[in-house]
Amino acid sequence: MEFWRAAHCNFELLFAQSSMTPILQHASFYWTLMLDQRKKIIGEDTVLFEHIWKSGKGFYITVSILGALVLLAIYAYVTQYRTGLTVTGLSRQIFWGVYITNFVFFIGISHAGTFISAVLRILKAEWRRPISRASELTTVFILMFGVGSVLIDLGRPDRMLYAIRYANFQSPLLWDVCSIATYLTVSSLSLYLALIPDIAMLRDLGGKREWFYRILSLGWTGTEGQHHRLDKAIGFVSILVIPVMITVHTVVSFVFAMTIQPLWHSAIFGPYFVVGAIFSGVASVIVVMAVLRKAYHLENYIKPIHFNNIGIFLMAMTLLWFYFTFAEYITIVYGNDPVHMSIFWSKFTGKFAPLFWLHFVLCFVIPLPILAIKKFRTIRGTVIVSISIVLGMWLERFVIIVPTLTRQRMPVQGAFYIPTWVEWSILAGCISLFTLLYVLFTKVFPIVPVWEVREGREKAAATAAARITSYMPETGAPKE
């Protein structure tokens, strides 16, 4: 950027002096042409490109901190790989803990991207435009950590491909493999498709990385026909990804629901997990949006109205989540099966009570009033709520998984679980690596879909007006 500005100034200076040879005049004409094209591509959206080219002090500090945490997690995993899972707090009785919680939690987060971008696209909600990429990117990146968490949990990670080689499709874990692989493919495709026009812009801007953008842009020139095909493809993928998304968390819940363990063996686990997934996912997208807005000065693009709109949706999800939680527990309490009740009491008043009630406060008591009152549904308000929900939903996954293992169908000895530094480091490392990948992505591609925002600016008002007119009753004489 700086170079271009400087170049421009120099040539203006040359013009002013008006003492040029014809050759120089020719060159300056060429430069002006280039600059004109640049201006045409960037337009008024300089800020959307700036974060690709400019790296301030903040960027390097963030990357170093995240890098250090990732290294710590790698060290933790190497320790675990060399000595076995004994370095975790897991035991014969409580054999699933933080890693499996992470698996369910991360895959849950991945549901937001699709929900916000695909569903809003289908509903033709125009305000989705600036935030669709940020949410899709969250989906794609966090999904990899969901898969990774299961692999980290394996006793013999060297044999992980046996799950494909000797696949037993009777096992819900295989359903997970199929469903998550499909979801990762479809959501990556949807992210990439919406990137193509922006990649072409970056290619046309030239520079050192032009070859890279040239390959990825697939020869996009922005003709009418190309736009038509792209719209069709995005529309198709948006519809395809929604049922896939629903299956993903449904089969994740089936890992638990298909067993006959108390408080896991529940028919509402499928929808309950999907609701929880969208709930936690949308909350994390709010956090991501707020961070991007602040760090990359996107105040003009990601506006309070976005937080307000998603906040209303989040409030609906809060109530829906409460409804499912209530339905789940009231069925157990009323049924009064002693095997189930012993686990229930361990959550309600027993040793898991602090975690259980904390998660309830974080997921329901704090979010509901803040989201329900318009005055509090500001950027700050929704971000506070979202952080509370994200923490609460991690705890929710934990208090679903662990208490059942403390006492399956009879009292057991040694049901004791305190996660160790290895597990916490790997959790921190996963979140850090996710953030790091996210930051690095914004160094290569614009995080706000430039072409979509422009399309909205140019065409949306007219399209929306035409659409609204079409809803209205016809006036005048009925047509023959």
């Binding site: 899972l85 897991l90 006793g155 013999r156």
Partner: protein, 257 residues
């Protein structure tokens, strides 16, 4: 021919495809059927089961002969902590295993007496369904088998077993085995293990080690399909318990009052 980008991509793609053909073929083609059991037809004619007499078992207080025999011949390590405990056969107090049969006992003090627990070798084993790699399966004679070399250590079978019969190797178990029995495999870290009804002894015509080790003959073993077998004689006209029969797993270990 002009060497365009398109040509390059074509050649590159074909080369990659060619190189991946062999490993790809190996991954997907070599799915062998689960180890053919010795003479499957003969095995299918049998259905192994076990009976445990409470009273005979309680005769000597603190006796652990069956447990010791099993753990010795199967190289079960003594990990020393509850956290990493590995057990194929163990005991729990009567009142905790059969709380619903509280009043069948004659004497109050018997409530705290130990009940021997081991893999129930269910006739409809849930663990087999959950295993993503078919590392655990049911043999024709009803024994639930475990392949330590195929187990990936996901522990889903442990979540699926309602009896807590499975243990996981949280670390390398070999240093914790006192005397290694060279005739039985040791395990590596990261795999699940459990009682196998002594298949290796059955193959030699021997009865399971725990049954053989009991001085009081509190354990009976035999073919449930043969009406004249020792086990059928032992079960006849008796009050029998199974662990959680309501789950529909059809345990083949019976407790005889």
């Amino acid at each position: 021919m002009e060497f365009t980008r398109r040509t390059f991509l074509k050649i590159g793609g074909l080369t990659l495809l060619g190189l991946s053909a062999k490993p790809g073929w190996q991954v997907f083609s070599k799915v062998e059927a689960p180890e053919p059991s010795p003479d499957a037809e003969t095995l299918a004619r049998k259905k192994w089961g076990m009976g445990i007499y409470f009273r005979k078992c309680w005769k000597y207080e603190g006796c652990t002969d069956c447990i010791d025999a099993c753990h010795r011949i199967h190289n079960v390590p003594n990990m020393g902590t509850l956290k990493e405990e590995i057990k194929w056969i163990w005991t729990m107090p009567y009142e905790e295993v059969f709380p619903e049969h509280e009043f069948e006992l004659a004497e109050e003090k018997d409530q705290h007496k130990p009940v021997i627990l081991l893999c129930n070798q269910c006739d409809d084993p849930p663990c087999v369904r959950y295993c993503p790699t078919r590392a655990t399966w049911k043999r024709e004679d009803g024994i639930v088998m475990m392949d330590f070399h195929r187990c990936i250590g996901c522990r889903y079978c442990m979540a699926g077993c309602p009896y807590g019969s499975r243990s996981f190797n949280w670390r390398d178990p070999r240093p914790f085995i006192k005397n290694v029995n060279l005739e039985f495999p040791t395990r590596t870290r990261g795999v699940v293990e459990k009682c196998n009804f002594c298949v290796e002894r059955l193959a030699q015509g021997l009865i399971p080690a725990c049954v053989e080790a009991c001085k009081e003959k509190a354990l009976v073993f035999g073919d449930l399909k043969d009406p004249k077998s020792e086990i059928r004689e032992a079960l006849k006209y008796k009050t029998l318990y199974q662990r959680q029969p309501e789950l529909g797993t059809k345990p083949k270990v019976y407790y005889i009052l």
